[in-house]
Subunit: 421 residues, 2 copies
Amino acid sequence: MPYYISGVTADHRDLIARTPEEFREKNEVDVLTGHRVIEIDAGNRTVLVRDLESGREFRDEYTVLLLSTGASAFVPPVAGVDLEGCFVLRQLSDSISIKSFIRDRAPRRAVIVGAGPVGMEMCESFRRLGLAVTVVDTAVAPMPYMDPELSSRVLEKLESEGVECRLGEGLEGMEADRNGTLRRIETTEGSLDCDIALLAIGIRPATELARSAGVELGAREAVKVDEGMHTNIEGVYAAGDCAVTFDAITGSETWIPLGSTSRKQARAAADSMFGAPVDFPGVVGTSIVKCFDLTVGRTGLDEAYARESGFEPVSVSFEARDTPEYYPSGGGMALKIICDSPSGRVLGAQVVGGLASGADKRLDVFAVCTAAGMTTSDLEHLDLAYAPPYSAAVDAPIMAGNLMSGKLTGKPCRCDSSGLE
Amino acid sequence: MPYYISGVTADHRDLIARTPEEFREKNEVDVLTGHRVIEIDAGNRTVLVRDLESGREFRDEYTVLLLSTGASAFVPPVAGVDLEGCFVLRQLSDSISIKSFIRDRAPRRAVIVGAGPVGMEMCESFRRLGLAVTVVDTAVAPMPYMDPELSSRVLEKLESEGVECRLGEGLEGMEADRNGTLRRIETTEGSLDCDIALLAIGIRPATELARSAGVELGAREAVKVDEGMHTNIEGVYAAGDCAVTFDAITGSETWIPLGSTSRKQARAAADSMFGAPVDFPGVVGTSIVKCFDLTVGRTGLDEAYARESGFEPVSVSFEARDTPEYYPSGGGMALKIICDSPSGRVLGAQVVGGLASGADKRLDVFAVCTAAGMTTSDLEHLDLAYAPPYSAAVDAPIMAGNLMSGKLTGKPCRCDSSGLE
């Protein structure tokens, strides 16, 4: 949706993966939009449905039921969040509203509350549309799920793109002018004039229906499911942003709502609902965001969480080229990897790099290595694709293995931009 | 070197990773260039060295000896290959000679014998310099290590870039004009006028010295080494293009000379020579080449070799987008994956895609999955980095897993450019 707002994606209809008509024609699936399930009677396997337009209610039957109610934007309990000009970005309708507002009202000053991935994407979108942008977050760095040595690069990028960053600062309220339109936000540190505000401070699983039906909730109050996407109620399954998942490294229940995971959970749920054996192993926690011309991503555990989970994490941070020195570069990258000291197991990695550096490639390599339970030694021996347009002869994941092995064994291993010495 | 010839890399000195002076200063290593070891006396641990300039010979001692003699370009035994204007591309001096020849003689018509990776890179370099280019190969398709459904795309690209492809046609000889300069090549199908010719039909391990010292040779007549890079002679090790390696999937000895493998073998040999335990597991056979604006690569086994190795290969070929339909694409890609039918194990993959599509990223993901012994089901559950600028929500390796699972289990699974249905 940030790309629709900025105009990279011209038509909002392109964001609709499948319309109700296509579901019918291609998949023989009836999709009732504008209807809400207001009650589940799990004993009789029926649902009570309300047509939101007519108000008519009716019961429908099911053999198996999937809860895929998603998540809602979190709106903090402060004054003024319902003012015209204050938005969240969760539903397609939100993006259409934001785009209309910008077109009709021509706001000049935007405030984004929240310096997470949605906030980063919207910084870029608003700047692209010519707005002055200020980001406010209680965290002391943008992208709070990145470690400081990498998030500092994101901060530099935001500032170089003209984004004002007010970090360590919390939202206290919003104020309108005499026409009832948003004009100012109040923070813990002062106030800030603006014409449009975006609340991008996270989402919450939409589980009211589940809860009222007696469905058990788990991590972060998301619907508790097992590896077969079953809830505690016979015949009721859940998948997507409303459901928990598993951390494939620690085995613990977690809630990491992402579109890529939803797609996998949906397949697993469909198989399970039709009787196939399913063992969805969970995720390693991979995520990525484009912040202007930077790629910012992480996978696996960070040091703090690794320690909490009983590992003995050791990290290495380094810079790597994306191509050899004699070949044009896509901007290079900074990386951090985290391994378990006694076992050498790869626990996670973080990367910030140029958009054309293939930093996303190295992140995916680490994601696979982490999922596979590979060790530092395995990293050193990876047979990655090398030719000058694609990487240096010792590519970043291999260099990470060399450096980490050196650190774990005490074997000296240096590395500079030209590779290992 | 193709990028130096075409001018992407301006100075040939940038291709020298380290000069003898840098070796001395940074690493306290003496490098004698212009010297050849002409004899190894393994019993007394001495070598006989000749200074190629003065002709002086002297003996030197060693405690451990590394054979890293590399490989030489194969020159076929036909008439005229020593003519002025006929080149190979193996040493830095070759690239300097080619560049000088082009500058001084302004050739207009180039013939490249060999449609492998070096041939592909040089097609692009010569075209970039404005030459008419013809490629000749006895194989019926370019990039013979790619399967036909993918190599056909390389052929299309070559033709669209104005490269004439004469496939299924063998070199029979070269002819000069009265000044002794190359003017024509003869093939099994006729003749072809040209002003410059490049022989790019493969390399052979440089093992004369090793053989004369009693060092045992292995696959493809390369120096036989074990997982610790030891040869059969105590105190003598080998690494790089002169040495064999192991196919990490089948465990069999093989010879796949690539710079990325050489770097890893060199580290392993150094550790081993200084007494550290080393177990270099070999390679899965990953390689990549840029052919104009196409990325062409493979990893692991192809179907024929998988079958020879005792697997029961099943393959799936498909097209995948690099980004969602609503986001600008880097050109998409075509993929083929090969799995073992009874176990579901991933055996290999091949990919041809747009240069900006991140086809190299998906290749590296498959390379890691292959090395890790992952299965089709593991592919389906990969937690890869998803955001619209980087991939579709179901990225190509996951889609490969879905399609292969469908094929192996008989579960219907279709896929079109918008993803799975």
